[in-house]
Amino acid sequence: MNNPHHLNPTSLKSRFTTRFLRALTKIRAQKPISSSSPTEIFRRYRRIKVAADKSMAYSVRSRRIWSRAMLWKLRSRSYRRQDPCSGRRSGKTNQAIMKKSSNENTTTRREDGVGFVEEADELRQLVPGGETMNLCNLLDETAHYIKCLTTQVQLFSPIGKG
């Protein structure tokens, strides 16, 4: 099965795992919780969540619109923390993503006749970068995004049982 468009479960999962575990080790080393204040635990939870999304997005890299959108979002978060003036740069990247994905079909004209405009719009809110996608890309990206989300969930379960 050498279809480049299919998710290769082995390599994606192992790339994801390695990155995620590396991130977790770093997070744990940052501040040992001797006093498990709720604030500390909350901060850790946020960091773990970001690490999970980062690991997922970096494992897929720029092969997908949703992963590019997620990577852009993650990067602009850290840029904004360090340098407030880099907002302009992030804006240009966003335009590049938008241009890439909306070149083909029109977004709304075709949907008017098929009766699921609202559901499609709702889906656009859930899939990273969905607002910029035409319908065809949206449905395609959604399938891949869901596969990656289920992988993300699977990776937590052996860890959680520790």
């Binding site: 795992t17 977790l24 744990r28 850790r44 499609a120 869901i146 969930v153 520790g162």
Partner: protein, 89 residues
């Protein structure tokens, strides 16, 4: 490339649309095709949205649990074990 439509040949065809919706339907165990046959696109997308939200919430909850027990876990030992486990699936 001759176009049978008056609009640009970039328009998504009904067949393509159906195929994409069907593929999404196969990702939903609750809309298993052997039992439900053809389901409306709106319903498929509806279920897909609920499914995505469920998955995102699950990751949320798991992150929360992990944040509480991170200290007591042996991450290095898990590394090889998890990878081995997943590669066997």
């Amino acid at each position: 490339m001759s176009s049978q439509r008056s609009t640009s040949s970039n328009k998504i065809t009904d067949d393509e649309l159906t195929a994409l919706i069907l593929r999404l339907q196969t990702l939903l165990p609750q809309l298993d095709q052997s039992r439900h046959g053809r389901v409306s696109a709106a319903k498929v997308l509806n279920e897909i949205c609920s499914y995505i939200r469920r998955l995102q919430n699950e990751v949320d909850g798991l992150s929360g649990r992990l944040s509480q027990c991170l200290d007591s876990m042996d991450l290095t030992g898990f590394d090889a074990e998890i990878v081995r486990d997943l590669l066997q699936q």
